[in-house]
């Protein structure tokens, strides 16, 4: 094999010369770091377990050029769009269709029919492809901007999804505005852009998904909005009285529906923030009732999916409101899969559930209730799956182990 010198120098591990450092916005970097660490830490059951929304978009970064032919309305074209709208290897490996898994026989789970959105003339929007299974909905859209409109590299679009089943409508969103937005990825001309949204939602088969895309805004607005939400919630807490107990504050939160107030605040923030393109675009897409179940294993609230390399935790399990949880998977070869860096797993380590010396593999990424492996695992390799539930009532921490699965 041959290696060029740049590759060889990536192996260098010795002392490095001092270099002249350029100024940077360290506050902005701190914000980004905080955002990511808090996303990992706050893995909690949602207050409304029906509302799940996961987007690959928060980390979407790619701005690249794709040939026009790649966007033809076909399966291959959809896959190409997906590959280019992914953000990082971890997120990419989580996506169906793009993780190298065998896609034969998955045609039933894919639609490449083009559905046009209606809305503001400044941008014409249509679907570039959809993937769906029992609990996943992934949508790529093509956005063509009118002449004279320029889209910056940091542009994101905010989506809103509603699931309609008969007379029931469920708004699928959470309070993390950043997690809902998708970065626009440039096509091969200056007018065409693509974005992909990824949602998990139970009982998606046979439903109609209403999609509304609202305004194209700079990515920085997402972080700014999160900061503003925290400040606003702190203000509410101060108004209520920070000397009160956590239980009282939680009760007040519930009684006054501060979840909704937070969402209203977020919507208002995005409505008022600086926009790159102002507009709203809507469409409805149908999810067939007889879609194939791609789960490889399903038991007691855990769903292991080889195609998406992920394990899904069913948030409707009996988990107390406000509690956090951590799944721990033990493989038959003794390896343990868990998340490092969370207070929960640090507690598990300190209390001897596993040790730093155990051979372990991290979950590559965690998005709400989906934990993605860094590599595929056969269900037959799994010895045990446990769910540790951490409940802190303000004075005492209780930790409960639920054995979800054990191999025969």
């Amino acid at each position: 094999m041959s290696k060029n010198l740049y590759d060889l120098f990536s192996e260098y591990r010795g002392e490095l010369p001092e270099i002249k450092e350029e100024k940077c916005d360290s506050e902005r970097i701190k914000q980004l770091v905080r955002q990511q660490t808090s996303e990992k830490k706050n893995i909690k059951v949602r207050r409304n377990p029906k509302m799940f929304i996961i987007s690959i978009a928060a980390a979407l970064t790619a701005v690249t050029s794709i040939t026009a032919a790649a966007y033809s309305d076909n399966f291959g074209g959809f896959k190409k769009v997906l590959r280019r709208t992914e953000a990082s290897p971890a997120v990419n490996s989580e996506l169906p269709l793009v993780n190298g898994s065998d896609t034969d026989g998955m045609e039933d789970n894919i639609s490449v029919d083009s559905v046009a959105f209606t809305g503001s003339d400044s941008v014409s929007v249509k679907t570039a492809g959809m993937y769906y299974d029992n609990n996943t909905f992934m949508l790529s859209v093509e956005m063509k901007v009118s002449d004279g409109i320029s889209i910056r590299d940091d542009a994101v679009v905010i989506p809103y999804f509603t699931k309609y089943n008969g007379d029931t409508a469920v708004e699928m969103r959470d309070q993390s505005g950043a997690a809902n937005a998708a970065k626009l990825v440039k096509g091969d001309d200056f007018q065409t852009y693509y974005a992909t949204f990824y949602i998990t939602e139970k009982d998606i088969a046979g439903s109609t998904i209403g999609v509304r895309l609202e305004n194209i805004i700079p990515r920085a607005a997402l972080t700014d909005c999160q900061t503003a939400i925290v400040a606003e919630q702190n203000k509410w807490h101060e108004e209520f009285g920070t000397d009160s107990s956590i239980e009282d504050w939680k009760a007040y939160w519930k009684e006054n529906d501060l979840d909704k107030r937070t969402l209203d605040f977020m919507d208002s923030y995005y409505r008022d923030c600086d926009k790159i393109v102002e507009g709203s675009w809507t469409a409805e897409v149908e999810v067939p009732a007889d879609i194939a179940d791609t789960s490889t294993f399903e038991n007691n609230g855990f769903r292991v999916k080889a195609d998406t390399l992920s394990i899904t935790v069913d948030a409707e399990r009996d988990i107390p409101e406000g509690a956090s949880y951590e799944p721990v998977i033990t493989l038959k070869n003794g390896d343990v899969i868990f998340t490092t860096g969370t207070k929960e797993t640090e507690w598990l380590k300190e209390n001897g559930v596993f040790t730093s010396e155990d051979k372990h593999e991290n979950f590559a990424s965690i998005y709400s209730n989906v934990f993605s492996y860094s590599k595929p695992h056969d269900v037959n390799d799994i010895a045990e799956v446990s769910m540790y539930i951490f409940n802190y009532d303000g004075s005492e921490l209780t930790v409960e182990k639920n054995l979800v699965y054990t191999a025969d």
Binding site: F9, G14, D154
Partner: protein, 180 residues
Amino acid sequence: MDDEKLVRLLRKKKEEALEALVEKYSAYVSTVARNVAGGTLGNSDIEEITADVFITVWKKSSELCADTLRSYLAVIARNISIDRLRKLHYTVPIDELEIDDSSDVESNTDQRLIADEFNSVINEMSQRDRELLLRYYFYYQKIPQIAAEMSISESSCKTGLFRARNRLKEKLIERGYGYE
């Protein structure tokens, strides 16, 4: 906060240590990322890469060592930046000279041996040669930048780099690595 204390607290997953790390090293990390990107990425991308470096360090804090913290950050910044560029299909610079070894590409052991051998060769070089090569091939600095930071003329820099590369080539050949 000194590196020793930083590492101690990072290993204990203290968030204030992560903030202090960002405060202390964000300019360094973003400079490395900016050099590697060579002007192809905007500020927001560089900031994202820089943040990703600190998140990676946070996740791998058990592996940290105070003596090598700065180098460790640079290696991660370099790798994440290169990955990002490749993902965006930008061309990552390659050198016209390549070494050729007959090892099995699949073998991690062989890869490790090459890495160890290479580090040993670099450490045998003179300080000036090493600095020139590291600035050019590790940090992706351009000739004018290297010249300015080492207080030498651009022509001296070019000549020095040419000679350093030849000396590196000789040492690699001595150790059984072909050079194309």
